[in-house]
Symmetry: C2
Subunit: 297 residues, 2 copies
């Protein structure tokens, strides 16, 4: 498995496990992709699925997956706290290993084309695949939700990239390529939330910090400390070690030390290998020197 | 592939590629193991082979591999610079992922037993598998080489662990479990070899340093700097970051900075992931959070 891509489809069903299982079974049925995780939220009435494999295999798996969701989910009867516009609400493709953003964009377009040809399901391309700047952001596309989509797709700004009307029961989906998102939190040796907030403001893109960092301060009541809670939206361009060192520097300005950090959920090997290599100051290190990298070929 | 073990058999043939190919083909023929590398040295008349896979699969592959070497190599006609005592001279098993030293030791004994039952090939258990302290070190066992083995195995200290005499054409082999060896060099911003030697003495086990470090100073003539050249013989107990930080500390005593480092050859993912986690001060990080770790299951 030289090339690896991840796909994290969100389906608008989180209350009927028998429906979720049937949809997820379409992925289990394929020996060439691996279902890594899926978790349902009843309040949101939504399930987030994670599958990985070679790009073409993952794309083909998603065709079956969406077909089954079309069969079993009717958005006209869907209620939940999470905004949604489609039975499969969003389909992001995330390069993991030896896949470029361009390839992931191409894959997202191929899937969108197939879904329209095979099932007449319309779609918006979003994130790196978007056809215009105002269509990159998922929240922008989804505003108005399923109920408001019929009117929205008739406006010039929001004509679907594939199809021209909303599917009666399925709605419309967003398909696109985006980088892997690393959830990374740094705990500070203080109970002063204002310090965490100041550090968050210093490191995040929104207020002048690093381009691919979202951050906010939060209180960890049970431990009596505060945390800079972050999403690293492209670790290949804003690497973990740089975020860590900048937080350390900004916290030190208040005389505050870092007590620890947390990686929430999964992280690609490359993110940690690059971090190790930076601290070790290696010259000419190649990721193929990592034994496990060779094993996956 | 949840459990991964590596095996690095050395064969006493490095001049006849057609013989090496036939022996290595026994590994290529198995879909359940992966041949990572093999390289022959004509002066040494020896070939080093690297194969990985699940423990039982690797063990079974080694039975075929040794069988083919027995068929094609006659040590009575072997000459080369490298000391040797067997057609397959040594068979180390190296835990890579989710394999304990105890499991690797058990595997080495199973292989030794099978080789004796099936081919009447005798063996010494060495390193972690050794039956006595004076039999841990390969050089100790091999002293006297093929030509002297017939007498040596009659002494009390060197009775084989399996069999009681030397095989007429094959000789005797050493089988054992040992940790992965990481070749790690650190380059210093000075042309003074004495600084590299002093730092090497400070960090290596032999002269009072870290337990699983071998080190010496070498001159990099083309760059006009010196290097602390090291072998880390058990990175799970003496991790890479500790070696790096200690070298940094000791070099600083001479006012010398680290300019860079080199990892030579392969390194298990865990060695770099642990290093990243140490610098990032993560709390409760589990290697299963590394996406590629899940992919290999």
């Amino acid at each position: 498995m030289a090339k690896i891509i991840e796909c994290v489809p969100n389906i608008s069903e989180g209350r009927r496990p028998e429906v979720v299982e049937q949809i997820v079974d379409t992925l289990r049925a394929r020996p060439d992709v691996k279902l890594l995780d899926y978790s349902s939220d009843a309040d949101h009435n939504r399930t987030v699925v994670t599958v990985v494999g070679e790009p073409q295999a993952v794309k083909e798996a998603m065709v079956d997956f969406v077909g089954k969701a079309l069969e079993l989910i009717d958005l006209r009867y869907h209620q939940g706290q999470h905004p949604r516009m489609g039975a499969v609400d969003v389909i992001p493709f995330i390069p993991i290993k030896e896949v470029s953003v361009e390839e992931a964009v191409q894959l997202s377009k191929e899937l969108a084309e197939t879904l329209y040809q095979k099932y007449q399901i319309p779609s918006f391309l979003y994130e790196s695949s978007a056809s215009a700047d105002h269509r990159k952001n998922l929240a922008n596309l989804r505003k108005g939700e399923f109920e408001g989509m019929k009117d929205k797709v008739r406006t010039k700004e929001f004509t679907p990239d594939y199809g021209d009307d909303v599917h009666e029961s399925f709605g419309i989906t967003a398909i696109g390529a985006r980088p892997f998102l690393v959830a990374f939190n740094i705990n500070l040796a203080t109970d002063n939330l204002e310090v965490a907030n100041q550090v968050a403001r210093a490191v995040r893109h929104l207020s002048g910090g690093l381009r691919y960092v979202k951050a906010m301060g939060v209180r960890l009541d049970d431990r009596g400390i505060v945390q800079v809670s972050m999403n690293l939206t492209d670790f290949t361009k804003t690497p973990i070690y740089r975020v860590f060192e900048l937080v350390k520097l900004e916290a030190a300005r208040y005389g505050v030390e870092i007590v620890g950090s947390e990686v929430i959920g999964m992280v690609p090997m490359a993110a940690l290998v690059n971090t190790a290599n930076w601290y070790l100051r290696t010259e000419d290190f190649n990721i193929e020197q990592v034994l496990e990298s060779r094993l996956m070929e």
